[in-house]
């Protein structure tokens, strides 16, 4: 129970369903920000008081569980090191993967609970091949993307009571009707451990910046930067290039190379990605072969995880639109090829693969191939 309206209503519905429910607020910071207004999903004293008040209203026991050390190691430090490595991580995803449906769930199971219930907007369906994760009924609020990391075992002990609610307005109205004081509390935004929302400034305090070269795709130096890690793929502003592009058109960040402290820039077309791939992939429930979505690649080495291409949709950011794609597994990687070249893709982001409304699985993007550089598969 974060202290927001969603988890409060989710808890209420779990109580209504007849379960024995205990409210848990996660302490994710040893130094909670004091009394900022608005929900950030964690970290403020006010959020913890709001969560407690909701639990009191529902008549359920309430406890604060301290996961600040795990959160720091698995989410905050991971966020910093991913950026330092030139990748763009999603900390909410990491929190779901490592904290809410891992550390919290494991503790809960050991203590005798059956499941973790959250206020996420996503829907679990009992499918023919086991539990499936689907998009929420309210597409505007859908959070299935940030839950795409959940595995069969995690889904087996998860429940999202808000998943079939038609809209957030319904949730707020229900909270109002139940007398929950958080009914009109603003939605959380941003990253909870960066209170003022200034991610760049926060990172700059933690990753020592060093000046380096800005180069074009051919390696020619076109400018200097104050620190490679403060750039994001797709960024156009703030490059301060000394050498104009030959064609005079704007240039964008194509790649960040922390090892050589280089930022690679180029034309907008070069941002269009035709292929993305990651070796760290998981399936949310039955894998594509077991689900009948595709078949194993019979030509692959025996025992190797290899799957023939199958049609799907891919989503690369929490608020991006899913786009039609083809995906396959080969050489230890989940490879996804959008049917149309895709913008706004950077290593470190998570690519979630959908079939219809169902989340099939995900990978953390290790590498991308620009559309104009893609060598067609044999």
């Amino acid at each position: 129970m974060s202290g927001g309206v969603d988890s409060a209503v989710a808890a209420a519905r779990a109580v209504d369903a007849g379960h024995e429910v205990v409210g848990v607020h996660l302490a994710l910071s040893r130094m909670p920000g004091t009394l900022r207004t608005g929900s950030r999903g964690c970290c403020t004293i006010e959020d913890s008081l709001d969560a407690r008040r909701a639990a009191e209203k529902l008549g359920i026991p309430f406890y604060v569980w301290d996961f600040s050390e795990r959160f720091r190691a698995d989410v905050v430090d991971d966020f910093i090191s991913e950026y330092a490595a030139g990748r763009t991580p999603n900390p909410c995803m990491r929190c779901n993967e490592r904290i809410k449906f891992a550390a919290v769930l494991e503790k809960a199971l050991a203590l005798g609970f059956d499941a973790v219930v959250t206020g996420h907007y996503a829907h679990i369906v009992e499918g023919p091949h086991g539990r499936e994760l689907h998009r929420a009924s309210d597409e505007a609020k859908d959070q299935s993307y940030v839950l795409g990391v959940l595995t069969t075992e995690q889904l087996a002990h998860a429940w999202f009571p808000l998943g079939t609610t038609p809209s957030k307005a319904v949730v707020r109205a229900e909270a109002e009707q139940r007398g929950l004081t958080v009914a009109q509390k603003p939605d959380s935004h941003d990253i909870c451990f960066i209170p003022d929302g200034d991610t760049r400034g926060w990172l700059a305090d933690r990753i020592a910046p060093a000046t380096g070269a800005i180069v074009d795709r051919d390696g020619a130096k076109v400018g200097e930067h104050d620190g490679a890690t403060s750039f994001t793929v797709g960024q156009r502003r703030g490059l301060n290039l000394g050498v104009p592009a030959p064609d005079g058109r704007p240039r964008f960040v194509l790649e960040v190379r922390p090892r050589t402290n280089e930022v690679v820039v180029g034309p907008r077309e070069a941002l269009a990605i035709a292929e993305l791939a990651g070796a760290r992939y998981t399936w949310a429930g039955a894998d594509p072969v077991a689900s009948g979505v595709t078949t194993r690649d019979a030509g692959a080495e025996p025992g190797a995880d290899a799957m023939l291409p199958f049609a799907c949709h891919v989503q690369v950011r929490a608020h991006a639109d899913p786009v039609p794609a083809s995906a396959f597994v080969a050489d230890g990687e989940l490879v996804v090829r959008p049917l149309e070249p895709l913008l706004g893709v950077a290593p470190g982001q998570t690519a979630v693969v959908y079939v219809g409304t169902r989340v099939l699985g995900q990978c953390t993007i290790d590498r991308t191939v620009a559309a104009d550089l893609l060598v067609p598969a044999p």
């Binding site: 909670p32 004293i45 913890s48 026991p61 569980w65 490592r98």
Partner: protein, 417 residues
């Protein structure tokens, strides 16, 4: 519900409740000059006399406060400021007013946070005092810290540790301090009404007590300030009491006095009963949860095989407190599981926004952070029965097993890896 957290707050006995309710019907501000005011004033003065009697002091030496924390703050800050009031401006020659505060590492947060505030804002210098493995102040370290008394503003110490229940060597410490002219504040909030504190040892300048720990109302406390001691007040206003401004709480004072008298009238009898119940509890834990480690003087008494030594150790403990640590388990998991079984206990340590920290008391006693995390404090009260103790003993093994499994899961994460 089975309530075994009497050290947090003790239920109000019916006699106290009815005295409190009657007193609430008395109209008048105790400082008003008219007869109504005088009737209210009589309640306060009478209560003051009765509280004073429980500690063998004179009524003028008792100042009612808005609770124990205020009493502790008034004593520590008030004594410190008074001792500093002769100080010359910083840097000027001869500005030798004492600034050092001697404070055991195992104090309650009311004292810890007060002295740390004085260190951060008022130029105090803190000298932390060590405790032994049972949690008792080490007099050798105190003697060392006192020296010839120069530069020492005051000593503050507990009469009994609120977490592990170990009684502190107040008389010996006060004698050492008095010999070098250092004033002593005793935080007796956990000890008052549990063990006899009267007569106050020579050398004690101030004693803090609280009503709700002995069955009185929350928000009522008192500072005993011996005749020779003066404090700079925390609150400025109408100067209604010695060292404190603010309208006097006649009903609160009356209820406190009734609760205090009751606790003292039955003190020996209650203590004996609680020691018996605690022995039953300790034995049951040793049989049913052998991996648990009993802490403090009471814990040492429970595992001592020599009867004479065991009795001596038992006498060094508050009668109703039993503290234990369970390896590989988090205290808050144990607390939650026992809560689910209808039994209220405590982890003993202070919480910051509900987040349990490893107890500074246990760390000072030499426990590792890992050991300190598995802490559980069980405190018995006058209403506790054998059946309550047995219910805890029945619920504890399963709670320990689950809490240890959860602790193991936390150390060897598997999901999401």
């Amino acid at each position: 519900m089975i309530y075994l957290d009497h050290a947090a707050t003790s239920p109000m006995p019916p006699a106290v409740r009815s005295a409190y309710l009657s007193a609430l019907e008395v109209v008048g501000n105790p400082s008003s000059i008219h007869s109504a005011g005088q009737r209210a004033r009589a309640l306060v003065d009478d209560a003051r006399s009765r509280i004073a009697a429980t500690l063998g002091v004179d009524p003028i030496e008792v100042t009612f406060t808005g609770g124990g924390t205020e009493a502790v703050n008034l004593a520590i800050k008030g004594l410190y400021w008074m001792r500093r009031s002769g100080a010359l401006p910083a840097g000027s020659a001869g500005s030798a007013a004492p600034a050092r505060i001697l404070v055991p590492r195992t104090e309650h947060h009311a004292a810890l946070d007060a002295v740390e505030w004085l260190a951060a804002h008022e130029g105090a210098e803190l000298r932390w005092l060590e405790v032994d493995a049972l949690g008792a102040l080490r007099l050798d370290d105190l003697a060392d810290a006192l020296g010839d008394g120069s530069g020492v503003a005051l000593l503050t110490m507990l009469a009994a540790n609120n977490e592990v229940g170990t009684l502190q060597p107040v008389a010996e410490a006060a004698a050492l301090a008095a010999a070098v002219g250092v004033p002593v504040h005793v935080d007796a909030i956990a000890a008052y009404g549990q063990v006899a504190l009267s007569p106050l040892p020579h050398g004690v300048s101030a004693v803090s007590i609280s009503a709700h720990k002995v069955g009185g109302p929350v928000g009522v406390g008192a500072l005993v300030l011996r005749r020779g001691a003066e404090v700079v007040p925390l609150l400025h206003g109408g100067s209604q009491q010695r060292g404190r401004s603010g309208t006097m709480d006649a009903a609160g004072a009356e209820a406190f006095a009734v609760a205090a008298e009751l606790a003292h009238a039955e003190l020996a009898e209650r203590a004996q009963r609680k020691r018996m119940l605690r022995a039953r509890l300790a034995e049951g834990i040793r049989n049913r949860v052998p991996q648990a480690v009993l802490r403090g003087a009471a814990g040492a008494a429970a595992v001592e095989t020599d009867p004479a030594r065991a009795a001596a150790l038992d006498a060094l403990a508050l009668p109703g407190t039993l503290h234990l640590t369970v390896p590989d388990a988090e205290g808050d998991s144990l607390l939650m599981l026992l809560d689910a079984a209808g039994i209220a206990v405590s982890t003993g340590s202070a919480c910051q926004a509900g987040v349990p920290e490893p107890s500074h008391v246990l760390l000072a006693m030499g426990l590792s952070e890992a050991e300190a995390r598995g802490a559980l404090r069980i405190t018995l009260g006058p209403s506790t029965t054998e059946a309550d103790v047995d219910a805890l003993l029945d619920a504890l093994p399963a709670a320990v097993e689950r809490a240890q499994a959860a602790g193991l899961a936390a150390r060897t994460p598997r999901l999401g890896r």
